[in-house]
Symmetry: C2
Subunit: 466 residues, 2 copies
């Protein structure tokens, strides 16, 4: 176990990386990988390796290159392999001789292609085991560690650092999610595309990320587990979940979907219901869609899970309609929106207009000056910010205009609500957020995650309570 | 009936508008309304009216103003009323004398506040009826008709024109939706906030918008209908749905939500299940969330409804994982992802790599040059673009990098798929869309709506098939 973790550290914090199959062509896999790594600002040594080096050319991406891994004069912590599948066994053998303990095999053409490929993969693993090498892949898009400026990724360049780490059985999903997240201002820390998962798996990585201080929350996209691997997965899930939240998106719950997982990552999808109830039982957080997955990961950057048996939610809104939609979504997901006791309602009525609604959802209405709105949001929050009354609070803001009014509401969120909250607080801000990007950013900086749609905020709240 | 429609035309295509209660203060309702109207580029005449005019000042928003509506020397088609509730009966009386037939009453303080307010509202309606006046409101945020540059809206200035018309029982929801839609590049045509719905209602407006040539799709946010109004609503829904799609989001399905509708718009929510099945039966399209509402409205800007009993969907994807998630979502919503017959699979295998998947979802993989990707998307589409095989096609694209590759896929969508489609086609493009905004715009211009998340694309497909 100790050795395992030692090796995983080499993957994510290497002092030197070789790219075997690096290419001068920026559109080839070996070109994208070496360029992404160079551009990522990685501070360690980089060694491009290509069989043509020393003959046709002597450098790749501006770096001296080598014909084989054995020609590199220094030690190498990690190697990325992008050569065609049939050459991989020999390359791994050479890496073993070189003393490299961590290999990322991007090359495809292994178990995902059928029996012959599976044989080749088994051979690679056998060689690796002999040398004590750990492997991520094959058929992976690679790994990323933004806090080490390490981008060994065959896909989009990663621009945003963050506190979310992501383990994905699908490389493309991780690649796409970087993009979607980047558009929403969400960054990642460590990301691993597992590919065929011939060696390093979710359990290894969960336990590693559990102790990674840059990771606040772990996301897993899972299509299936190999026979017999379920127990190890669930035990690692339980152990990791005691330290940080683990959010799991399970693909392949449908007939067509599970038919496709077999071809996609050579894994049996298994019964979706069995997976979901096991994930819950072992303290993981299952989600139903990619959107809910990212929304929930984002929330845990700001908020911790919150123990609650009753799952009572208070909704504070300046729009009656949005309050109603949020309440509808909440009840349909098993949350409760309790009508407040008369005494609480009376307190609330002292600070909202007579045509407002104190029952819950609390409709403070859109009436009044910016100062009035500041006061109403703050005062109503003060009244419902009470663990004996509810277990979570959703604050809804409609609008993006006029700016002064929106700024006043932002101030209430940042100055009065965020610092005084005794419960999980999630914000739904419904409007032209591009007009008030700065305000939304300030709210998130203060520790309150913001979502555009009420139903999305509610789903996240459901996932925070357990 | 004929007279009714005549009056509604005055609302949306007036040659002259008076704002009664217009204010020099740009932060007051009467100031926002007059400024929004002036800035909207409205080409008709605008008459600000304020009791202080002629005494304290002579102009508002740069326009000559009048003490009362009766002081305006010309005819007035429509008046917007923003004076305090207690003055409204007299103002409506004056409007009747002036011969105005269309009033938008923004002022609140009527039925939504209780019994006394209801009495005042009844009085206003009685006066209006006497003069043959139609009323939108009271307690409304106003109306918008972007193709007439008419912005009588107490909220954000509307910037984007479009083909979606929206009837909302909640003004704030309409206001927020403008903003959300604007951020996604979606515009509106006619928008009406019904407020307390004392006179003009959903049925009136559906039948009016049915014949409005600028409207391709109608969205309705509904909290409830007054007793006895159900039949009229459903008959108008059925009649309108023969001409264009009507998408309905119903608020108040939960206990807390229906408790809140009573306070919010003085309406009984009624049984959600009864509503939804009635809406379906009368050919409307019920949706479950605000996000699905806007996504579906956007689709109908580009696509017509498609009759299908079997609801068989083909999925073409360059990411196996996203194909699986789409298939999962599709089956959970009652769509079917049929495994293609052997002959079709064989045809597909001729154009995709051996480790691709031809079963459906069709995983063309991310392999190859931009030209290869162009060819694979186009050729696979040609094979499955067959009404005897499926009833709709979802094309999934993962990625936003490198640009040349993305451009090639865009070209396949625009040049090969859009012009040749015989079925509804929806695109899921999962990545950093801000990096390829121009490509996504081109795809939508070609008639294919684009969504970021696979599950959202699937929900929209479900709503297009009937």
């Amino acid at each position: 176990m100790a050795e395992k973790e030692f090796n995983l550290n080499y993957f994510f914090y290497p002092s030197s990386v070789a790219v075997i199959g690096a290419s001068k062509n920026p559109n080839k896999i070996g070109g994208i990988i070496i360029n992404n790594l160079v551009k990522s600002g990685y501070k360690g040594k980089i060694y491009p390796v290509n069989i043509k080096c020393g003959e046709e050319y002597n450098e790749i991406a501006g770096l001296k290159c080598y014909k084989t891994i054995l020609d590199i004069p220094d030690t190498v912590d990690t190697a990325v392999i992008v050569v065609p599948a049939r050459f991989v066994p020999d390359v791994v053998e050479d890496c073993g001789k070189k003393g490299i303990k961590s290999l990322i095999i991007i090359s495809s053409g292994f178990a995902e292609t059928g029996k012959e490929g599976k044989k080749l993969q088994d051979k690679v693993i056998e060689i690796a085991k002999k040398h004590g090498i750990r492997i991520i892949g094959p058929n992976t898009l690679g790994i990323v560690n933004t806090n080490h400026n390490l981008n060994l990724w065959f896909g989009m360049p990663i621009r945003l650092k963050g506190k979310i780490s992501f383990i994905s059985q699908s490389g493309a999903i991780a690649d796409g999610l970087f993009g979607v997240a980047q558009d929403e201002g969400i960054g990642f820390n460590i990301v691993v595309s597992l590919g065929n998962r011939a060696d390093v798996d979710e359990a290894d990585l969960m336990l590693y990320l559990k102790d990674d201080s840059f990771t606040r929350v772990i996301g897993i996209y899972l299509e299936g587990l190999p026979p017999g691997a379920g127990r190890r997965f669930l035990e690692a899930l339980k152990e990791t979940s005691t330290v940080k939240p683990v959010v799991v998106l399970k693909g392949g719950r449908s007939i067509a979907g599970s038919r496709a997982t077999l071809s996609h990552t050579a894994s049996m999808a298994g019964s979706y219901e069995v997976y979901v109830s096991a994930i819950k039982q072992f303290d993981g957080i299952p989600v139903e869609s990619m959107e809910e997955f990212l929304d929930t990961l984002k929330a845990f950057v700001y908020i911790d899970r919150y123990k609650s048996t009753q799952k009572r939610i208070a909704i504070i809104t300046n729009s009656g309609g949005l309050g109603i939609l949020a309440a509808d979504a909440a009840e349909s997901l098993g949350l409760s929106i309790p009508e407040f006791p008369r005494s609480v309602q009376e307190e609330i009525m002292k600070v909202i207009p007579p045509f407002g609604n104190p029952m819950n959802p609390v409709d403070i209405t859109a009436q009044g000056t910016p100062e009035d709105q500041y006061k109403m949001y703050s005062e109503v929050f003060k009244i419902v910010n009470d663990p004996s009354l509810v277990d979570g609070i959703i604050v809804i803001v409609e609008g993006s205009y006029p700016y002064e009014l929106m700024k006043a509401i932002k101030d209430a969120l940042v100055k009065e609500i965020a610092p005084n909250r005794r419960l999980p607080v999630i914000v739904c801000w419904f409007g032209a957020l591009s007009d008030i990007r700065d305000l939304v950013k300030d709210v998130e900086k203060s520790g309150l995650p913001v979502y555009m749609y009420p139903e999305r905020a509610v789903k996240v709240m459901k996932n925070i309570l357990y």
